[in-house]
Subunit: 221 residues, 2 copies
């Protein structure tokens, strides 16, 4: 997250559109992630910034658009991480495992993002649909998966009947669920999926699972 530091001007108000906007987005991200869309309070978001509610409406137009802007920025962060993915020099098995690990790590490090996505799903992705920006950008990760998969299938290492989007769904589901459903799962089954001492265990489990699936002999049936 872009944190905004400032050498506190005495008492006159400072004018810095970029900073004000970024600060609103920072605070709004936390508030929406914490309370959901309906549960978040515009007044509360304003109170936690150094500016006023008026500015939220000035820059974003309303609560709904603010949430969309929050989502747009949150997704741009994950796109960034995916773009920095550098696995093409690895052999297919190692590359897939690495990709899974990076996805795993990113989900763990951004619980607020996970919550925002959960919330957006409750709202049936209506903000994504309303966003020009989010509609356009594809997923760099998908391209990477496609290439690894192709290479792995060509060399006969991987079974042929797998598609990039499906594999992405498989990896994401495990990483996402572990964070998003941590609370109910913990309360019902007495296991904290995000406990630090289980981190390596689940990271390995994900890799094992994906590789097992990709290299399995699908002879039966």
């Amino acid at each position: 997250m872009t944190s905004v530091e400032e050498p506190a001007r005495p008492n006159g108000r400072i004018r810095d559109a970029a900073r004000t906007k970024a600060e609103i987005l920072d605070v709004a991200t936390k508030e929406f992630a914490r309370s959901g869309f309906a549960g978040a309070r515009v007044d509360e978001i304003a109170a936690r910034t150094r500016t006023t509610k008026r500015m939220i409406y000035y820059y974003f137009g309303g609560k709904e658009q603010l949430f969309t802007a929050v989502l747009e920025r949150a997704y741009s962060v994950i796109r960034q991480a995916e773009q920095e993915l550098d696995v093409e020099h690895l052999d297919p098995v190692a590359a897939i495992r690495r990709l899974a690990e990076v996805t795993f790590d990113h989900h763990e490090r951004h619980p607020d993002f996970i919550r925002l996505v959960s919330i957006e799903n409750i709202h049936e992705a209506e903000h994504i649909a309303a966003s020009e920006k989010l509609g356009r950008i594809g997923s760099p990760a998908l391209d990477v998966i496609r290439r690894i998969l192709e290479s792995g299938q060509r060399s006969g290492l991987f079974t042929a009947d797998v598609d990039a989007v499906d594999l992405h769904a498989m990896i994401s589901s495990f990483c996402f669920f572990r964070v998003s459903n941590r609370h109910t799962f913990g309360a019902l089954f007495g296991r904290d999926l995000v406990a630090p001492d289980l981190r390596e265990h689940y990271r390995k489990m994900l890799g094992d699972m994906v590789i097992a699936y990709l290299t399995a002999d699908r002879a039966t049936d």
Copy 2:
């Protein structure tokens, strides 16, 4: 004014505590699932029943407790389904596959339940924590998994290092994500994970994945 208006039920109110309570729960389930906890409106819930808001407070005490009651009933349904699971006569591989399929089917058939669980996770499972009932009941599915796993490991069919809770998490994550994240996933990657014509594909994919993981040769590393 003698109304000879007919059907045995003139317009006098009917008294049926059980029916009223159940009707409130039905409507509240839909409302909470649709709008989240904060987004759901008590007035709206009341309006959709044949009774009034007063009754919600009379029977449940408040919005918070109503949500808890909704959760309790929703979980009791899935427990029921798990209890009816009959796979012990199958060989371990078939039993696990069957278990995965039943889980898959149940998630698909109860999207409202998925949404409620997502919402409860946003609230960090505070209602589950506050519920006597939900704390006590374990998961029949877990017991089943434990037994199948044990049998499969004893016979050397399954690799030894898997635990029932983890396997349950693995299966659930795929089933849950497919429904819970269907909207954002669809909007971003252009694939509807719950499209009817992909149902069999994903059902098989889940089984293949789990079996591949359980029977994989974990020799490497």
